[in-house]
């Protein structure tokens, strides 16, 4: 069986491309797969009839006791034969039905075969979860098949409707399935059925939930409406899914479970009530339809109700009738759908008001259709008659034994049968009769190959009807497994069935065309007469129908529910997605306070205690920081707020130092400095005041949330510290650091060695941040080079302007004796040599501070040396790659601040991106290389040697990692300076240039001189951007 499934799956995968290439004739090839499975199944009939059950077991997830378990018992064999037999014929039929080049035909063929496979899997699965998976797979494939005509809105809507209704049922079913499997202690369907769990409230609920799934799948009232809508599918799909296969899945499940759960409270009344109602509603509606396909669809709803009653009834003879009816219905309904498909294909309509005289035009088609219709109406000698007789007999028998439900069911299905006869007559009349006032159809001619599939199916209806006694052994074996003869006899023979004893029970019904003059025959005759009378009075009937309002209009209910869900979703979105970031953040914080606060409050007694301070020095620091915090929150000026926040940062450094964390203090102080500079670089372009954008009420809410978070975190801190009762793992770190990492500075060894992965992650964050900064600021291109001085001709336009501007004031002020040095004259001599101080060329003199420039130039190299020292010494004393990198970064910051961006370019002639790359290479390489030596990543080792002159030298490989850290930090600092410093300078100049160009293109130089803040007028220093220089 697994081989068959694999075959279906492969076909589903391969067919789309083949069909797209070779057209509909691929369906003939594809039909071979279900046909082959059908033949194999035929060969299994003798064994199954003898009582054997072929099984297959392929372990799948043993931990969950999940297995691909398959079995062929009489029921699943019957279903599998229907699924593959009808499937093969429908696929074959598709070869004539579709035309070459039709949209989505490749997909259709693949999905159709995949559906056949899923359906086959569903009926042969013995694992209840696997069964459920196939169940849901059929739903999904049916969605795709119903929505085949993707361009039609109706088709898409119908597909979605079928999907929603059946998966909703499937969800309920899943809950039931899980309960059943857990309560039974096994997932094997055969074991659950053979040894059902003790009846209990829970089991009742589970069984009812499973029934919800089954009834939704089999289109029972009030969930029947999806089936008529699903007629938007191509007709072969309707013939297969909506007549023979998928809608039978629910019936199959009922038939599968009825032996074990037929006596569950509510089972029989529910199924009889729902089934009878569905049968009547479907039949009644079918009488109103003009579209032949819709007529059949409502007829199918009606027949499915019929099946629900019979299959769910739970007596031995009802089960026998049920399985016969399943077979009969699959045969005749698939035939009729295929006939409608041919009519539609030939005439271009399915409306019975437009079709006339087709019977004469297409006699073969009429014969085929009549055979099938006769089976549907229950005429001898077709299988529909045999099935209906069996049903009447079984129900009558039980009613005679005094079961009131039997009587209800009997009357219900008899009434339903009257309607069935009536709509069958309506179908035949509508499709083939000559109607007055309607022009006879031009059918062209009949194609025999198109008729093959429906003809075979119709002949099967006839053959199985005549040969019905041959079906008896197989069907009877299923029926014997269901229940003893009647409700009355149940108690007496429970022991016999429980023991799995399938002894021939007296009075067991047998399938046959002729049972003698029995009451059932009488009922059949009466329904036939009444049905034909109903059809004959169709004008009057339809007048009545128009007057009676449709009581059960669940389609409208469905659309109302869908609409409500839509509206609800929009409302909920409007409520939660206000688009306001502060509200989102506030929501998160309020949830934090509420959730953690509640958790803390529920715990009751909390650990933790307080003392005033660790050292008295904490008090003044804390006071300064606290005041700075409050002032920062209230500050209206941007720079003021930044400086105040900076105060808290330096305060943190002091606290770290006091607490015994020199590394932290050092890093924090350095980071704070670089951060301040970065802030200033950006904020010089923004207005100095921060707009107060919130009302007083908002500020109060913000303050309340802030205080709430503050209080919560205080409690968290106290509790967290109080909860630390175990010995910290860090007690072993000093030893590890010294012995293993070969370094005395525990924190540094932790960073580069013991917790190196952490640092590696952190480094990637830094690299991403640096790249992000650069790409945000360099709007149009990522400039890889620092701006540097070069020959005049190569300078870009903005630089030329800058130079002009620089020259002008130099010349203008030279008479006043303010020329600072020989920079300008030397430039005039021709740029032969780069001067020691670059600012002379590039900055206006009032922006320069010669002392600062000189001091920075002198200190720069010392700072770099210090940074390298910190890097290498960091392993044993406070320092390390972070601190070293930050010192180097600060050195560059100083060069840039003192003399502008060209100075920066000269100081660091290397691209920041390359530094970052090398840093990652070093750090990552240090992490990876040990792997090649067969040890864990990031394992460090050390070398020591006695060198002449230098003396004892030690080298730990983790230092390489630290070099990577150093390079990345320097790269980050450079990227920040390059982007937020140099590039912003450039963009600012460009903006000023544009202003100048706009105003007076001809008077370029004058304009820039008089309009830019860079102009040599003394009041220029008031502008924000000047304040940093």
């Amino acid at each position: 069986m697994i081989i068959s499934l694999i075959g279906f799956a492969l076909a589903g995968l391969v067919l789309p491309s083949l069909t797209a290439r070779f057209g509909p004739r691929m369906f003939v090839v594809a039909a071979a797969i279900p046909a082959a499975v059908f033949v194999w199944l035929l060969s299994q009939i003798p064994a199954v009839t003898r009582g054997e059950t072929p099984t297959e077991l392929h372990p799948w997830v043993p931990q969950l006791d999940l297995a691909l378990a398959f079995r062929l018992d009489p029921l699943s064999l019957t279903m599998a034969l229907i699924v593959t037999g009808v499937g093969a014929l429908v696929v074959l039929y598709c070869a004539r039905y579709f035309r070459r080049g039709e949209d989505g035909l490749g997909r259709f063929s693949g999905v159709l075969l995949a559906f056949a496979g899923a359906m086959f899997g569903l009926v042969v699965s013995d694992d209840i979860y696997v069964l459920f998976m196939f169940w849901e797979a059929t739903t999904v494939f049916s969605y795709l098949l119903i929505g085949q005509y993707t361009a039609k809105r109706k088709s898409r809507g119908a597909a979605l409707q079928a999907l929603l209704v059946t998966t909703a049922g499937g969800l309920a079913m899943l809950v039931g399935v899980v309960i059943l499997a857990v309560e039974s202690g096994t997932t094997r369907v055969s074991q659950i059925v053979a040894d059902p769990p003790q009846a209990s409230g829970l089991i009742t609920v589970a069984v009812l939930l499973v029934l919800v799934g089954a009834l939704s799948k089999s289109a029972q009232v009030p969930l029947h409406f999806w089936l008529p809508s699903a007629m938007a599918a191509p007709t072969p799909v309707s013939a297969y899914l909506h007549a023979a296969a998928m809608v039978k899945a629910g019936i199959f499940l009922i038939a599968l479970l009825v032996p074990a759960f037929g006596e569950t409270p509510g089972w029989r009344p529910l199924l009889v009530a729902v089934g009878v109602l569905t049968m009547l509603v479907g039949g009644w509606r079918a009488l109103r339809q003009h579209d032949l396909k819709l007529l059949l669809a409502y007829g199918t709803v009606s027949q499915l109700g019929f099946l629900t009653v019979v299959v769910g009834y739970g007596t031995r003879n009802a089960a026998l009738a049920g399985i016969t009816l399943i077979t009969g219905h699959a045969l005749f309904k698939a035939t009729l759908f295929l006939v409608v498909g041919i009519i539609d294909n030939r005439l271009g309509t399915r409306d019975l008001r437009k079709i006339s005289g087709l019977g004469r035009q297409a006699p073969l088609l009429a014969v085929v259709a009549t055979l099938a219709a006769a089976s549907m109406a229950g005429l001898p000698p077709l299988i529909g008659f045999v099935a209906k007789e069996a049903v009447f007999t079984a129900l009558l028998e039980d009613a005679e034994h005094g079961a009131p439900l039997g009587l209800v069911a009997l009357i219900g299905v008899a009434l339903g049968s009257v309607l069935t006869v009536a709509y069958t007559a309506r179908f035949l009349w509508g499709a083939f009769a000559r109607k007055p006032g309607v022009e006879p159809a031009e059918f062209v001619h009949e194609h025999v190959d198109f008729l093959i599939s429906p003809a075979i199916l119709a002949l099967a209806s006839l053959a199985l009807g005549i040969a019905s006694p041959l079906l008896d052994p197989l069907f009877g074996r299923y029926a014997d497994g269901v229940a003893p003869l009647s409700g009355e006899a149940l108690a007496a023979s429970t022991s016999a069935t429980a023991a799995g004893d399938t002894v021939e029970i007296p009075d067991a019904a047998h399938l046959a065309l002729w049972h003698g003059l029995e009451p059932a025959l009488g009922i059949s005759a009466i329904t036939l007469v009444l049905g034909l009378a109903l059809f004959a009075a169709r004008t009057r009937v339809s007048a009545i129908q128009n007057r009676v309002p449709s009581l059960i209009d669940s389609a409208r209910g469905y659309s109302r529910v869908v609409h409500l869900v839509d509206r609800g979703a929009v409302r909920l979105t409007r409520l939660t997605q206000t688009g306001s970031l502060p509200i989102y953040v506030a929501t998160i914080l309020v949830v934090l306070v509420a959730a953690v606060g509640t958790a803390l409050a529920l715990v009751g007694e909390l650990p933790g205690s307080l003392r005033p301070w660790d050292s008295p020095a904490q008090l003044p620091i804390a006071i300064v920081m606290g005041v700075a915090t409050i002032a920062a929150a209230r500050a209206q000026k941007r720079f003021m707020a930044v400086v105040l926040v900076g105060v808290t940062g330096y305060g943190m450094a002091a606290l770290f130092a006091l607490q015994g964390a020199p590394d932290l203090a050092l890093t924090q102080a350095l980071v704070e400095t670089v951060t301040l500079v970065t802030f200033v670089l950006v904020l010089r372009r923004l207005p100095s005041a921060i707009g107060q954008d919130h009302s007083r009420r908002h500020r109060i809410v913000r303050a309340v949330i802030g205080v709430g978070v503050g209080i919560l975190m205080s409690v968290v801190a106290v509790v967290a510290l109080g909860s630390r009762i175990a010995e910290p793992i860090s007690l072993r770190f000093p030893e590890l650091a010294y012995e293993g990492g070969h370094g005395r500075n525990v924190v540094n060894v932790l960073l580069v060695d013991i917790r190196g992965w952490d640092t590696l992650g952190e480094l990637s964050v830094l690299v991403v941040a640096a790249t992000g900064v650069a790409s945000l600021v360099f709007l149009s291109r990522r400039s890889s080079d620092m701006p540097r001085l070069g020959p005049e001709t190569e300078r870009p336009r903005w630089f030329a302007r800058r130079t002009r501007m620089a020259e002008a004031p130099v010349e203008a002020t030279s008479s006043a004796g303010a020329t600072p040095d020989g920079a300008a004259p030397s430039q005039e001599r021709g740029n032969q040599r780069t001067p020691w101080l670059l600012a002379g060329k590039t900055l206006a003199p009032e922006n320069r501070s010669i002392i600062l420039e000189v001091v920075v130039r002198l200190l720069f190299h010392s700072a770099i040396v210090v940074s390298v020292y910190l890097l290498f010494a960091g392993h044993n004393i406070p320092g390390g790659g972070f601190a070293g990198g930050l010192v180097a970064g600060l050195a560059f910051v100083a060069r840039y601040l003192a003399a502008g961006r060209f100075e920066l370019g000269e100081a660091a002639p290397i691209d920041a991106g390359k530094l970052l790359g090398f840093g990652v290479l070093f750090a990552g390489g240090t992490a990876l290389v040990p792997i090649f030596f067969g040890v864990d990543a990031l394992t460090s080792t050390w070398f020591e040697a006695e060198l002449p002159v230098i003396g004892h030298v030690e080298f730990v490989t983790s230092t390489l990692f630290d070099i990577g850290v150093y390079l990345i930090v320097v790269g980050l600092a450079l990227d920040i300076l390059r982007s937020l410093g140099a590039e912003i300078d450039r963009q600012q100049e460009e903006d000023h240039d544009d202003e100048g160009d706009d105003e007076a293109p001809g008077a370029h130089q004058i304009n820039t001189l008089s309009h830019t803040p860079d102009s040599p007028t003394p009041d220029a220093e008031n502008s924000t951007e000047e304040s940093i220089r």
Binding site: D344, L347, R350, H563, R567, G710, V747
Partner: protein
């Protein structure tokens, strides 16, 4: 272990001030709030690390139990540097927003507001066919071999 009241109060103040700023609409304020919350969180880790101790540097005569816990120190160090990288990124964002939109204020997300708009609904899907009811009863309109009258 008992916690330092001074540090606890300071941490609460930093959190309160930070959250207050974070909830503003000005991006500069949000970034400053982010920094304050970052400082507060580092302080939280520092408090949980336990009482003050000697610097965690291995030296003769210094017992591990006398040292300040090095593990939280390493965590804070990582946090400091990452906060720096992220705030640089946020600053670049602020700059770009200012350069493009001349705005330092976060406005409401238009897409979010549009989703909740009064007339937005799921079922206003455009249909690709004429909804005149033709083709209701056939799949073969105009393609059938013999069209019914």
């Amino acid at each position: 272990m008992s916690a330092s009241l001074v540090l606890i109060l300071l941490m609460a103040a930093l959190y309160a001030g930070g959250v207050y700023l974070l909830l503003g609409r000005s991006m500069t304020r949000m970034l400053l709030g982010f920094l304050l919350v970052g400082n507060a969180t580092n302080l939280l880790i520092l408090i949980i690390a336990g009482p003050a101790g000697l610097a965690p540097i291995v030296a003769d005569g210094v017992e591990p139990s006398e040292m300040h816990d090095p593990l939280p120190e390493a965590l804070i160090l990582t946090a400091i540097v990452i906060t720096f990288g992220v705030s640089a990124f946020l600053l670049a964002l602020i700059y770009r927003s200012w350069r493009i939109a001349r705005a330092d204020v976060i406005t409401s997300d238009e897409a979010d507001v549009a989703v909740g708009g009064a007339d937005s609904s799921m079922d206003d899907e455009e249909s690709t066919e004429a909804e005149d009811g033709s083709g209701e009863d056939t799949e073969f309109e105009g393609r059938a071999e013999a069209k019914a009258p």
